[in-house]
């Protein structure tokens, strides 16, 4: 979609909106989803009253894993667009024409040229998004407070918990997170360098 044929205005709107939405994480985003898909959210009540389908009666809950994942998508998709757009811009139309001259069809172009060139960028973006989700605290907290057992929430729970307080356990968990993210960054830097090769 980011490729050539797209009209300019659509492209600008897309990247602008992505830039804004990627910064929408946190408590307000959590609340926006509660207002949409919470137990008395607009979409939930609409589905219940007008479509005769109550998602909460069918095992869906915004405050569990699926709900948190859905909410994270709201800032992860725009981030992906922002990160991957320059790489897709770097796919030159000459390559496509050269491939077509040599008799490649569209699938073969992507299989042998497009995907291999984009692979480092895609993996890099994957790592970045992983880190972003892995360390998100505010959004999950706003949705489910202490109700969902992901690492950042657990750290917050043990560090400032009124019931159970165990700061040393929190510190150990925090260090564990640091190690995971440090490994991710060590993988990210060479990928970044490699994907920069095709960028000019």
């Amino acid at each position: 979609m980011i490729r050539e044929g797209t009209p300019r205005f659509l492209r600008t709107t897309l990247t602008t909106f992505s830039g804004v939405a990627a910064n929408f994480a946190g408590i307000p985003l959590a609340f926006a989803f509660i207002a949409t898909l919470g137990t008395i959210g607009i979409v939930t009540t609409f589905m219940r009253d007008h479509l005769g389908f109550d998602p909460y009666a069918h095992g869906f809950t915004l405050f569990g894993q699926t709900g948190v994942e859905l909410t994270y998508l709201y800032f992860q998709i725009p981030l992906m667009i922002l990160v991957i757009a320059p790489a897709i811009d770097g796919l030159r139309s000459e390559w496509r024409e050269a491939a077509a001259n040599l008799g490649a069809n569209s699938w073969q172009f992507w299989r042998y040229v497009g995907i291999p060139v984009l692979l480092p960028s895609i993996l890099g973006a994957f790592i970045l998004l992983f880190g972003n989700s892995f360390s998100a605290y505010a959004t999950a907290y706003g949705l489910a407070a202490n109700g969902i057992a992901i690492v950042p929430i657990t750290i917050g729970f043990y560090y400032s918990g009124n019931v159970v307080s165990d700061p040393h356990l929190a510190q150990a968990l925090a260090f564990g997170m640091f190690v995971v993210l440090a490994v991710m960054m060590l993988l990210y830097v060479p990928l970044q360098r490699r994907s920069a090769r095709w960028m000019r």
Partner: protein, 264 residues
């Protein structure tokens, strides 16, 4: 073989994506307009309750002052640093770039645990005041955004020529920095400042765990008890981010100045 129309599959994707991204915003708006007693549309009661809540004003004021302080400290620290690195020690640029990645490796939740532990027992004017510990933590969070903005700004000007010209006219270092360099990287500095503003106005993790009452922690507090007011506040918070990001775009797009006009 340039296509001028949009493929049908792209249209479908666009519609689905816009629905996914717009519905929560619209739902928040509708939610904030519901009447407090009946839960029906439409009343501005939630908004008027917020405006008359003095906690709203104190927290949003605190968050705003914090972001101003963070911006000021960041600019004072990083403008001379990045300038010096570009001028004298270009070999250190990758080192700074690597350091700018550190806030991504050490996310807020890890950072706050470490900071609270490290500074336990430090003087209370620093540890217990938002303008001390919290602002310092925000400078760390804002570092990558500020650094990349400034770095791009310095790369687009000729630091050496500007500095030499300024010095051969007899300017001191301070004059060079404030009257020659600063006006030339104004756009980059503003871009970094707007990003910092958006970050600080929305930062929840550190403020919450360090038990400070900023705007995002206030939203969370309201969120737990008063859903309609919380919707109004969330919308307001989105508007702040929107405003900061649009300001950023507006500044970044600023019309290219003709060569030579930069120094008037």
């Amino acid at each position: 073989m340039r296509r001028r129309w949009i493929a049908p599959s792209a249209v479908v994707w666009l519609v689905v994506a816009s629905a996914f991204f717009l519905i929560p915003l619209i739902a928040t708006l509708l939610f904030s307009l519901r009447s407090l007693q009946t839960g029906k549309c439409c009343s501005g009661a939630a908004y008027s309750l917020i405006i008359h809540d003095h906690q709203f004003w104190t927290t949003i004021r605190l968050s705003f002052l914090l972001s101003l302080e963070t911006i000021a400290i960041s600019l004072v620290l990083f403008v001379p640093t990045v300038y010096w690195v570009h001028l004298k020690m270009p070999r250190l640029r990758p080192v700074l770039g690597f350091m700018a990645l550190v806030p991504f490796v050490v996310p807020p939740i890890v950072l706050v645990v470490g900071l609270l532990n490290l500074y336990k027992g430090s003087p209370s004017w620093f540890y217990d005041k938002p303008s001390g510990l919290l602002a310092a933590a925000y400078v760390i969070l804002a570092f990558p955004y500020m650094y990349f903005a400034l770095d791009a700004g310095f790369r687009s000007i000729d630091v050496h020529t500007l500095t030499e010209a300024s010095q051969s006219l007899g300017a001191s270092w301070r004059t060079t920095l404030t009257r020659v360099i600063l006006p030339n990287i104004r756009v980059a500095a503003l871009a970094g400042s707007f990003l910092t503003l958006a970050i600080v106005m929305g930062e929840f993790t550190i403020a919450s765990l360090a038990a400070f009452k900023t705007f995002p922690t206030y939203i969370q507090l309201v969120n737990e008890t008063q859903p309609y007011e919380a919707a109004a506040l969330s919308l307001l918070s989105f508007l702040i981010v929107w405003a900061a990001m649009l300001a950023l775009l507006f500044v970044g797009r600023g019309r290219p100045r003709p060569a030579g006009a930069a120094t008037r």
